[in-house]
Symmetry: C2
Amino acid sequence: MPSVTLKMIAKELSLSVATVSKALANSYEISDATKNIVLEAARKMGYIANPYASSLRKRRSKTVAVVIPEIADSFFAKVINGIEEVALFYGYHVLIYMTHESLSREQAIMQDFRSGRVDGILMSVSEQTDTVDHIKAVMDSNTPVVFFDRVREELPTTCIVTNDFESAFAATSHLISKNCRKIAFVGNSPALAINRNRESGYKAALKEHQITYENVLICGNDPENDYTILASLFRSDYRPDGIILSVEKLIQLLYQVCHDLNVNIPGQLKVLTFTNFAMAGFLNPPLSTINQPAYEIGKVAAQTLFKKLARTNHISEAESIVLPSEIIFRESSN
Amino acid sequence: MPSVTLKMIAKELSLSVATVSKALANSYEISDATKNIVLEAARKMGYIANPYASSLRKRRSKTVAVVIPEIADSFFAKVINGIEEVALFYGYHVLIYMTHESLSREQAIMQDFRSGRVDGILMSVSEQTDTVDHIKAVMDSNTPVVFFDRVREELPTTCIVTNDFESAFAATSHLISKNCRKIAFVGNSPALAINRNRESGYKAALKEHQITYENVLICGNDPENDYTILASLFRSDYRPDGIILSVEKLIQLLYQVCHDLNVNIPGQLKVLTFTNFAMAGFLNPPLSTINQPAYEIGKVAAQTLFKKLARTNHISEAESIVLPSEIIFRESSN
DNA sequence: TTTATTTACGAAACCGTTTTCGATAGATAA
DNA sequence: TTATCTATCGAAAACGGTTTCGTAAATAAA
């Protein structure tokens, strides 16, 4: 039960603690013969290093944090899969934190990271995040941050994003080509670059086709309220014939609304959605999707972070890595 | 940049490190006047305790681990949501580990936990897990484990499960009542109690109705292979007219198979699935589901673990907490 | 042979807390 | 007046590793 320590191995072998430590670290200072003896003893005694003692002295925890709005979303779940894959490879541990779209929670989480709990941070900011002071403070304390998906480009670090502008542009153009002339766009927070980019792509496509109907809705985090917002779309004279959803969560609500109000998809409304949703092709009707490469985003984000951690010089610059999304046209937009 | 330590506060205030530490811990040994002074200085200097020093000395990390097969599954994603909610409340941090259904990965992860990295563990075992030595070893080193969903009942600890037998029984009975006489059951690993319980429920219902057709398939983790297994069902004389899926991942494959082979749901095949899938009602056809209370399972599992952690005496006993699932009948089984 | 260098190891400081054990001064009790 | 508490604080020993630095022996260079 009493876990075995370096000191116990040292005593067992009549060596010093320092020697045992170095032997286990495969230091050049120790002879191969001694290393073998130590390794064997450690194995036999079932030695496992205390990570907290090690982290305290080395000032590195071999731990990274993932800060996301929430996890009940296939996108973030897949991102975490990618992150975990890479972290495992590099021997890092992964702490998970959720902001639940709350800035104050995000700030509290970031505050904690100034303790050096994690070596680096992978994050996707909350909807509410309209300041970056709390993030900058962590970066200033020498903990690198890599953003993905919901990024803040004003900070000098790497952002892993997808081609949101182009995707929204292509999606909107596609709806136009399908004879939609009143296309609505539904996003969540205008504070997020990701939403602004998609909105810009949407507007650019409208402009190119000289379409004046423009309808940008902002949904929040409250399903009931969002339902009302979506439903109101179809009760007004301003009723659209096409819609682009920027948020995965809204799919269900939109399908519900259309079901409840007898809006036929794609007959009366054509739908295209940013999502990462394996079953989209089996919905009724099959949903056209803009598939973000979630798993890849997670992998690249983690790899980028570990690259930063490996480097000693910390001249981090603002930079974007763009992984293209893939649009899959299905019946909902046909 | 150099993070502020207790020593710095002590020097600043001409107090001892011990006094500062105790003041911040709100110890009765320190006068209110001194506490206020210390608190104020700590706040002003931006003190954040080093968690590794603290964990090393206190032998408690305020960290728990979640060990799951994978996360790209709405069930586990929701469970984590529940866990995180409770962990936040108790001031705990959450480490995530995925086994990817591999026993050796699971063993490696458990091995690491013998270092005392985490105070407790929440886990759902892998498909391959046919031994519990690696788990027992961690429990013996005084790190409590709470199982959920995929449990191992032979260990003296708490298991959070849902009423799998009853759900499978009810689901099978329902298909029988809809005139299915050749009902297949698809699970993953027969090593898992959860699967055995569901299979037993399925068989019990068949028996009760004196139906002799019995068809238990085992799907694995390879989509292509699983597709073949499912497809072969409909090419044989043994072709079923009803099917119960024990695994969420298989939904997409089954719908694909039925689409490819022109098997009409529910006309030629009625389907009921264990899943936790918000969009099930909007699939084509709407899918009847046995909804596990994923979020609740996560919450209860975490609460149970924290209760164990709070207690000093460690007389853990085998015990099951059953949270009932809810069956929602939709068109796929009608 | 002498000197310089390399090899292999150990003593001790250190990482930043927490905790034990005194110590002191003032208050209270005997 | 003396003994006993009580309240408040500090010195120092943990916690279990890592790292610096010193040293003795072995080897190489002169």
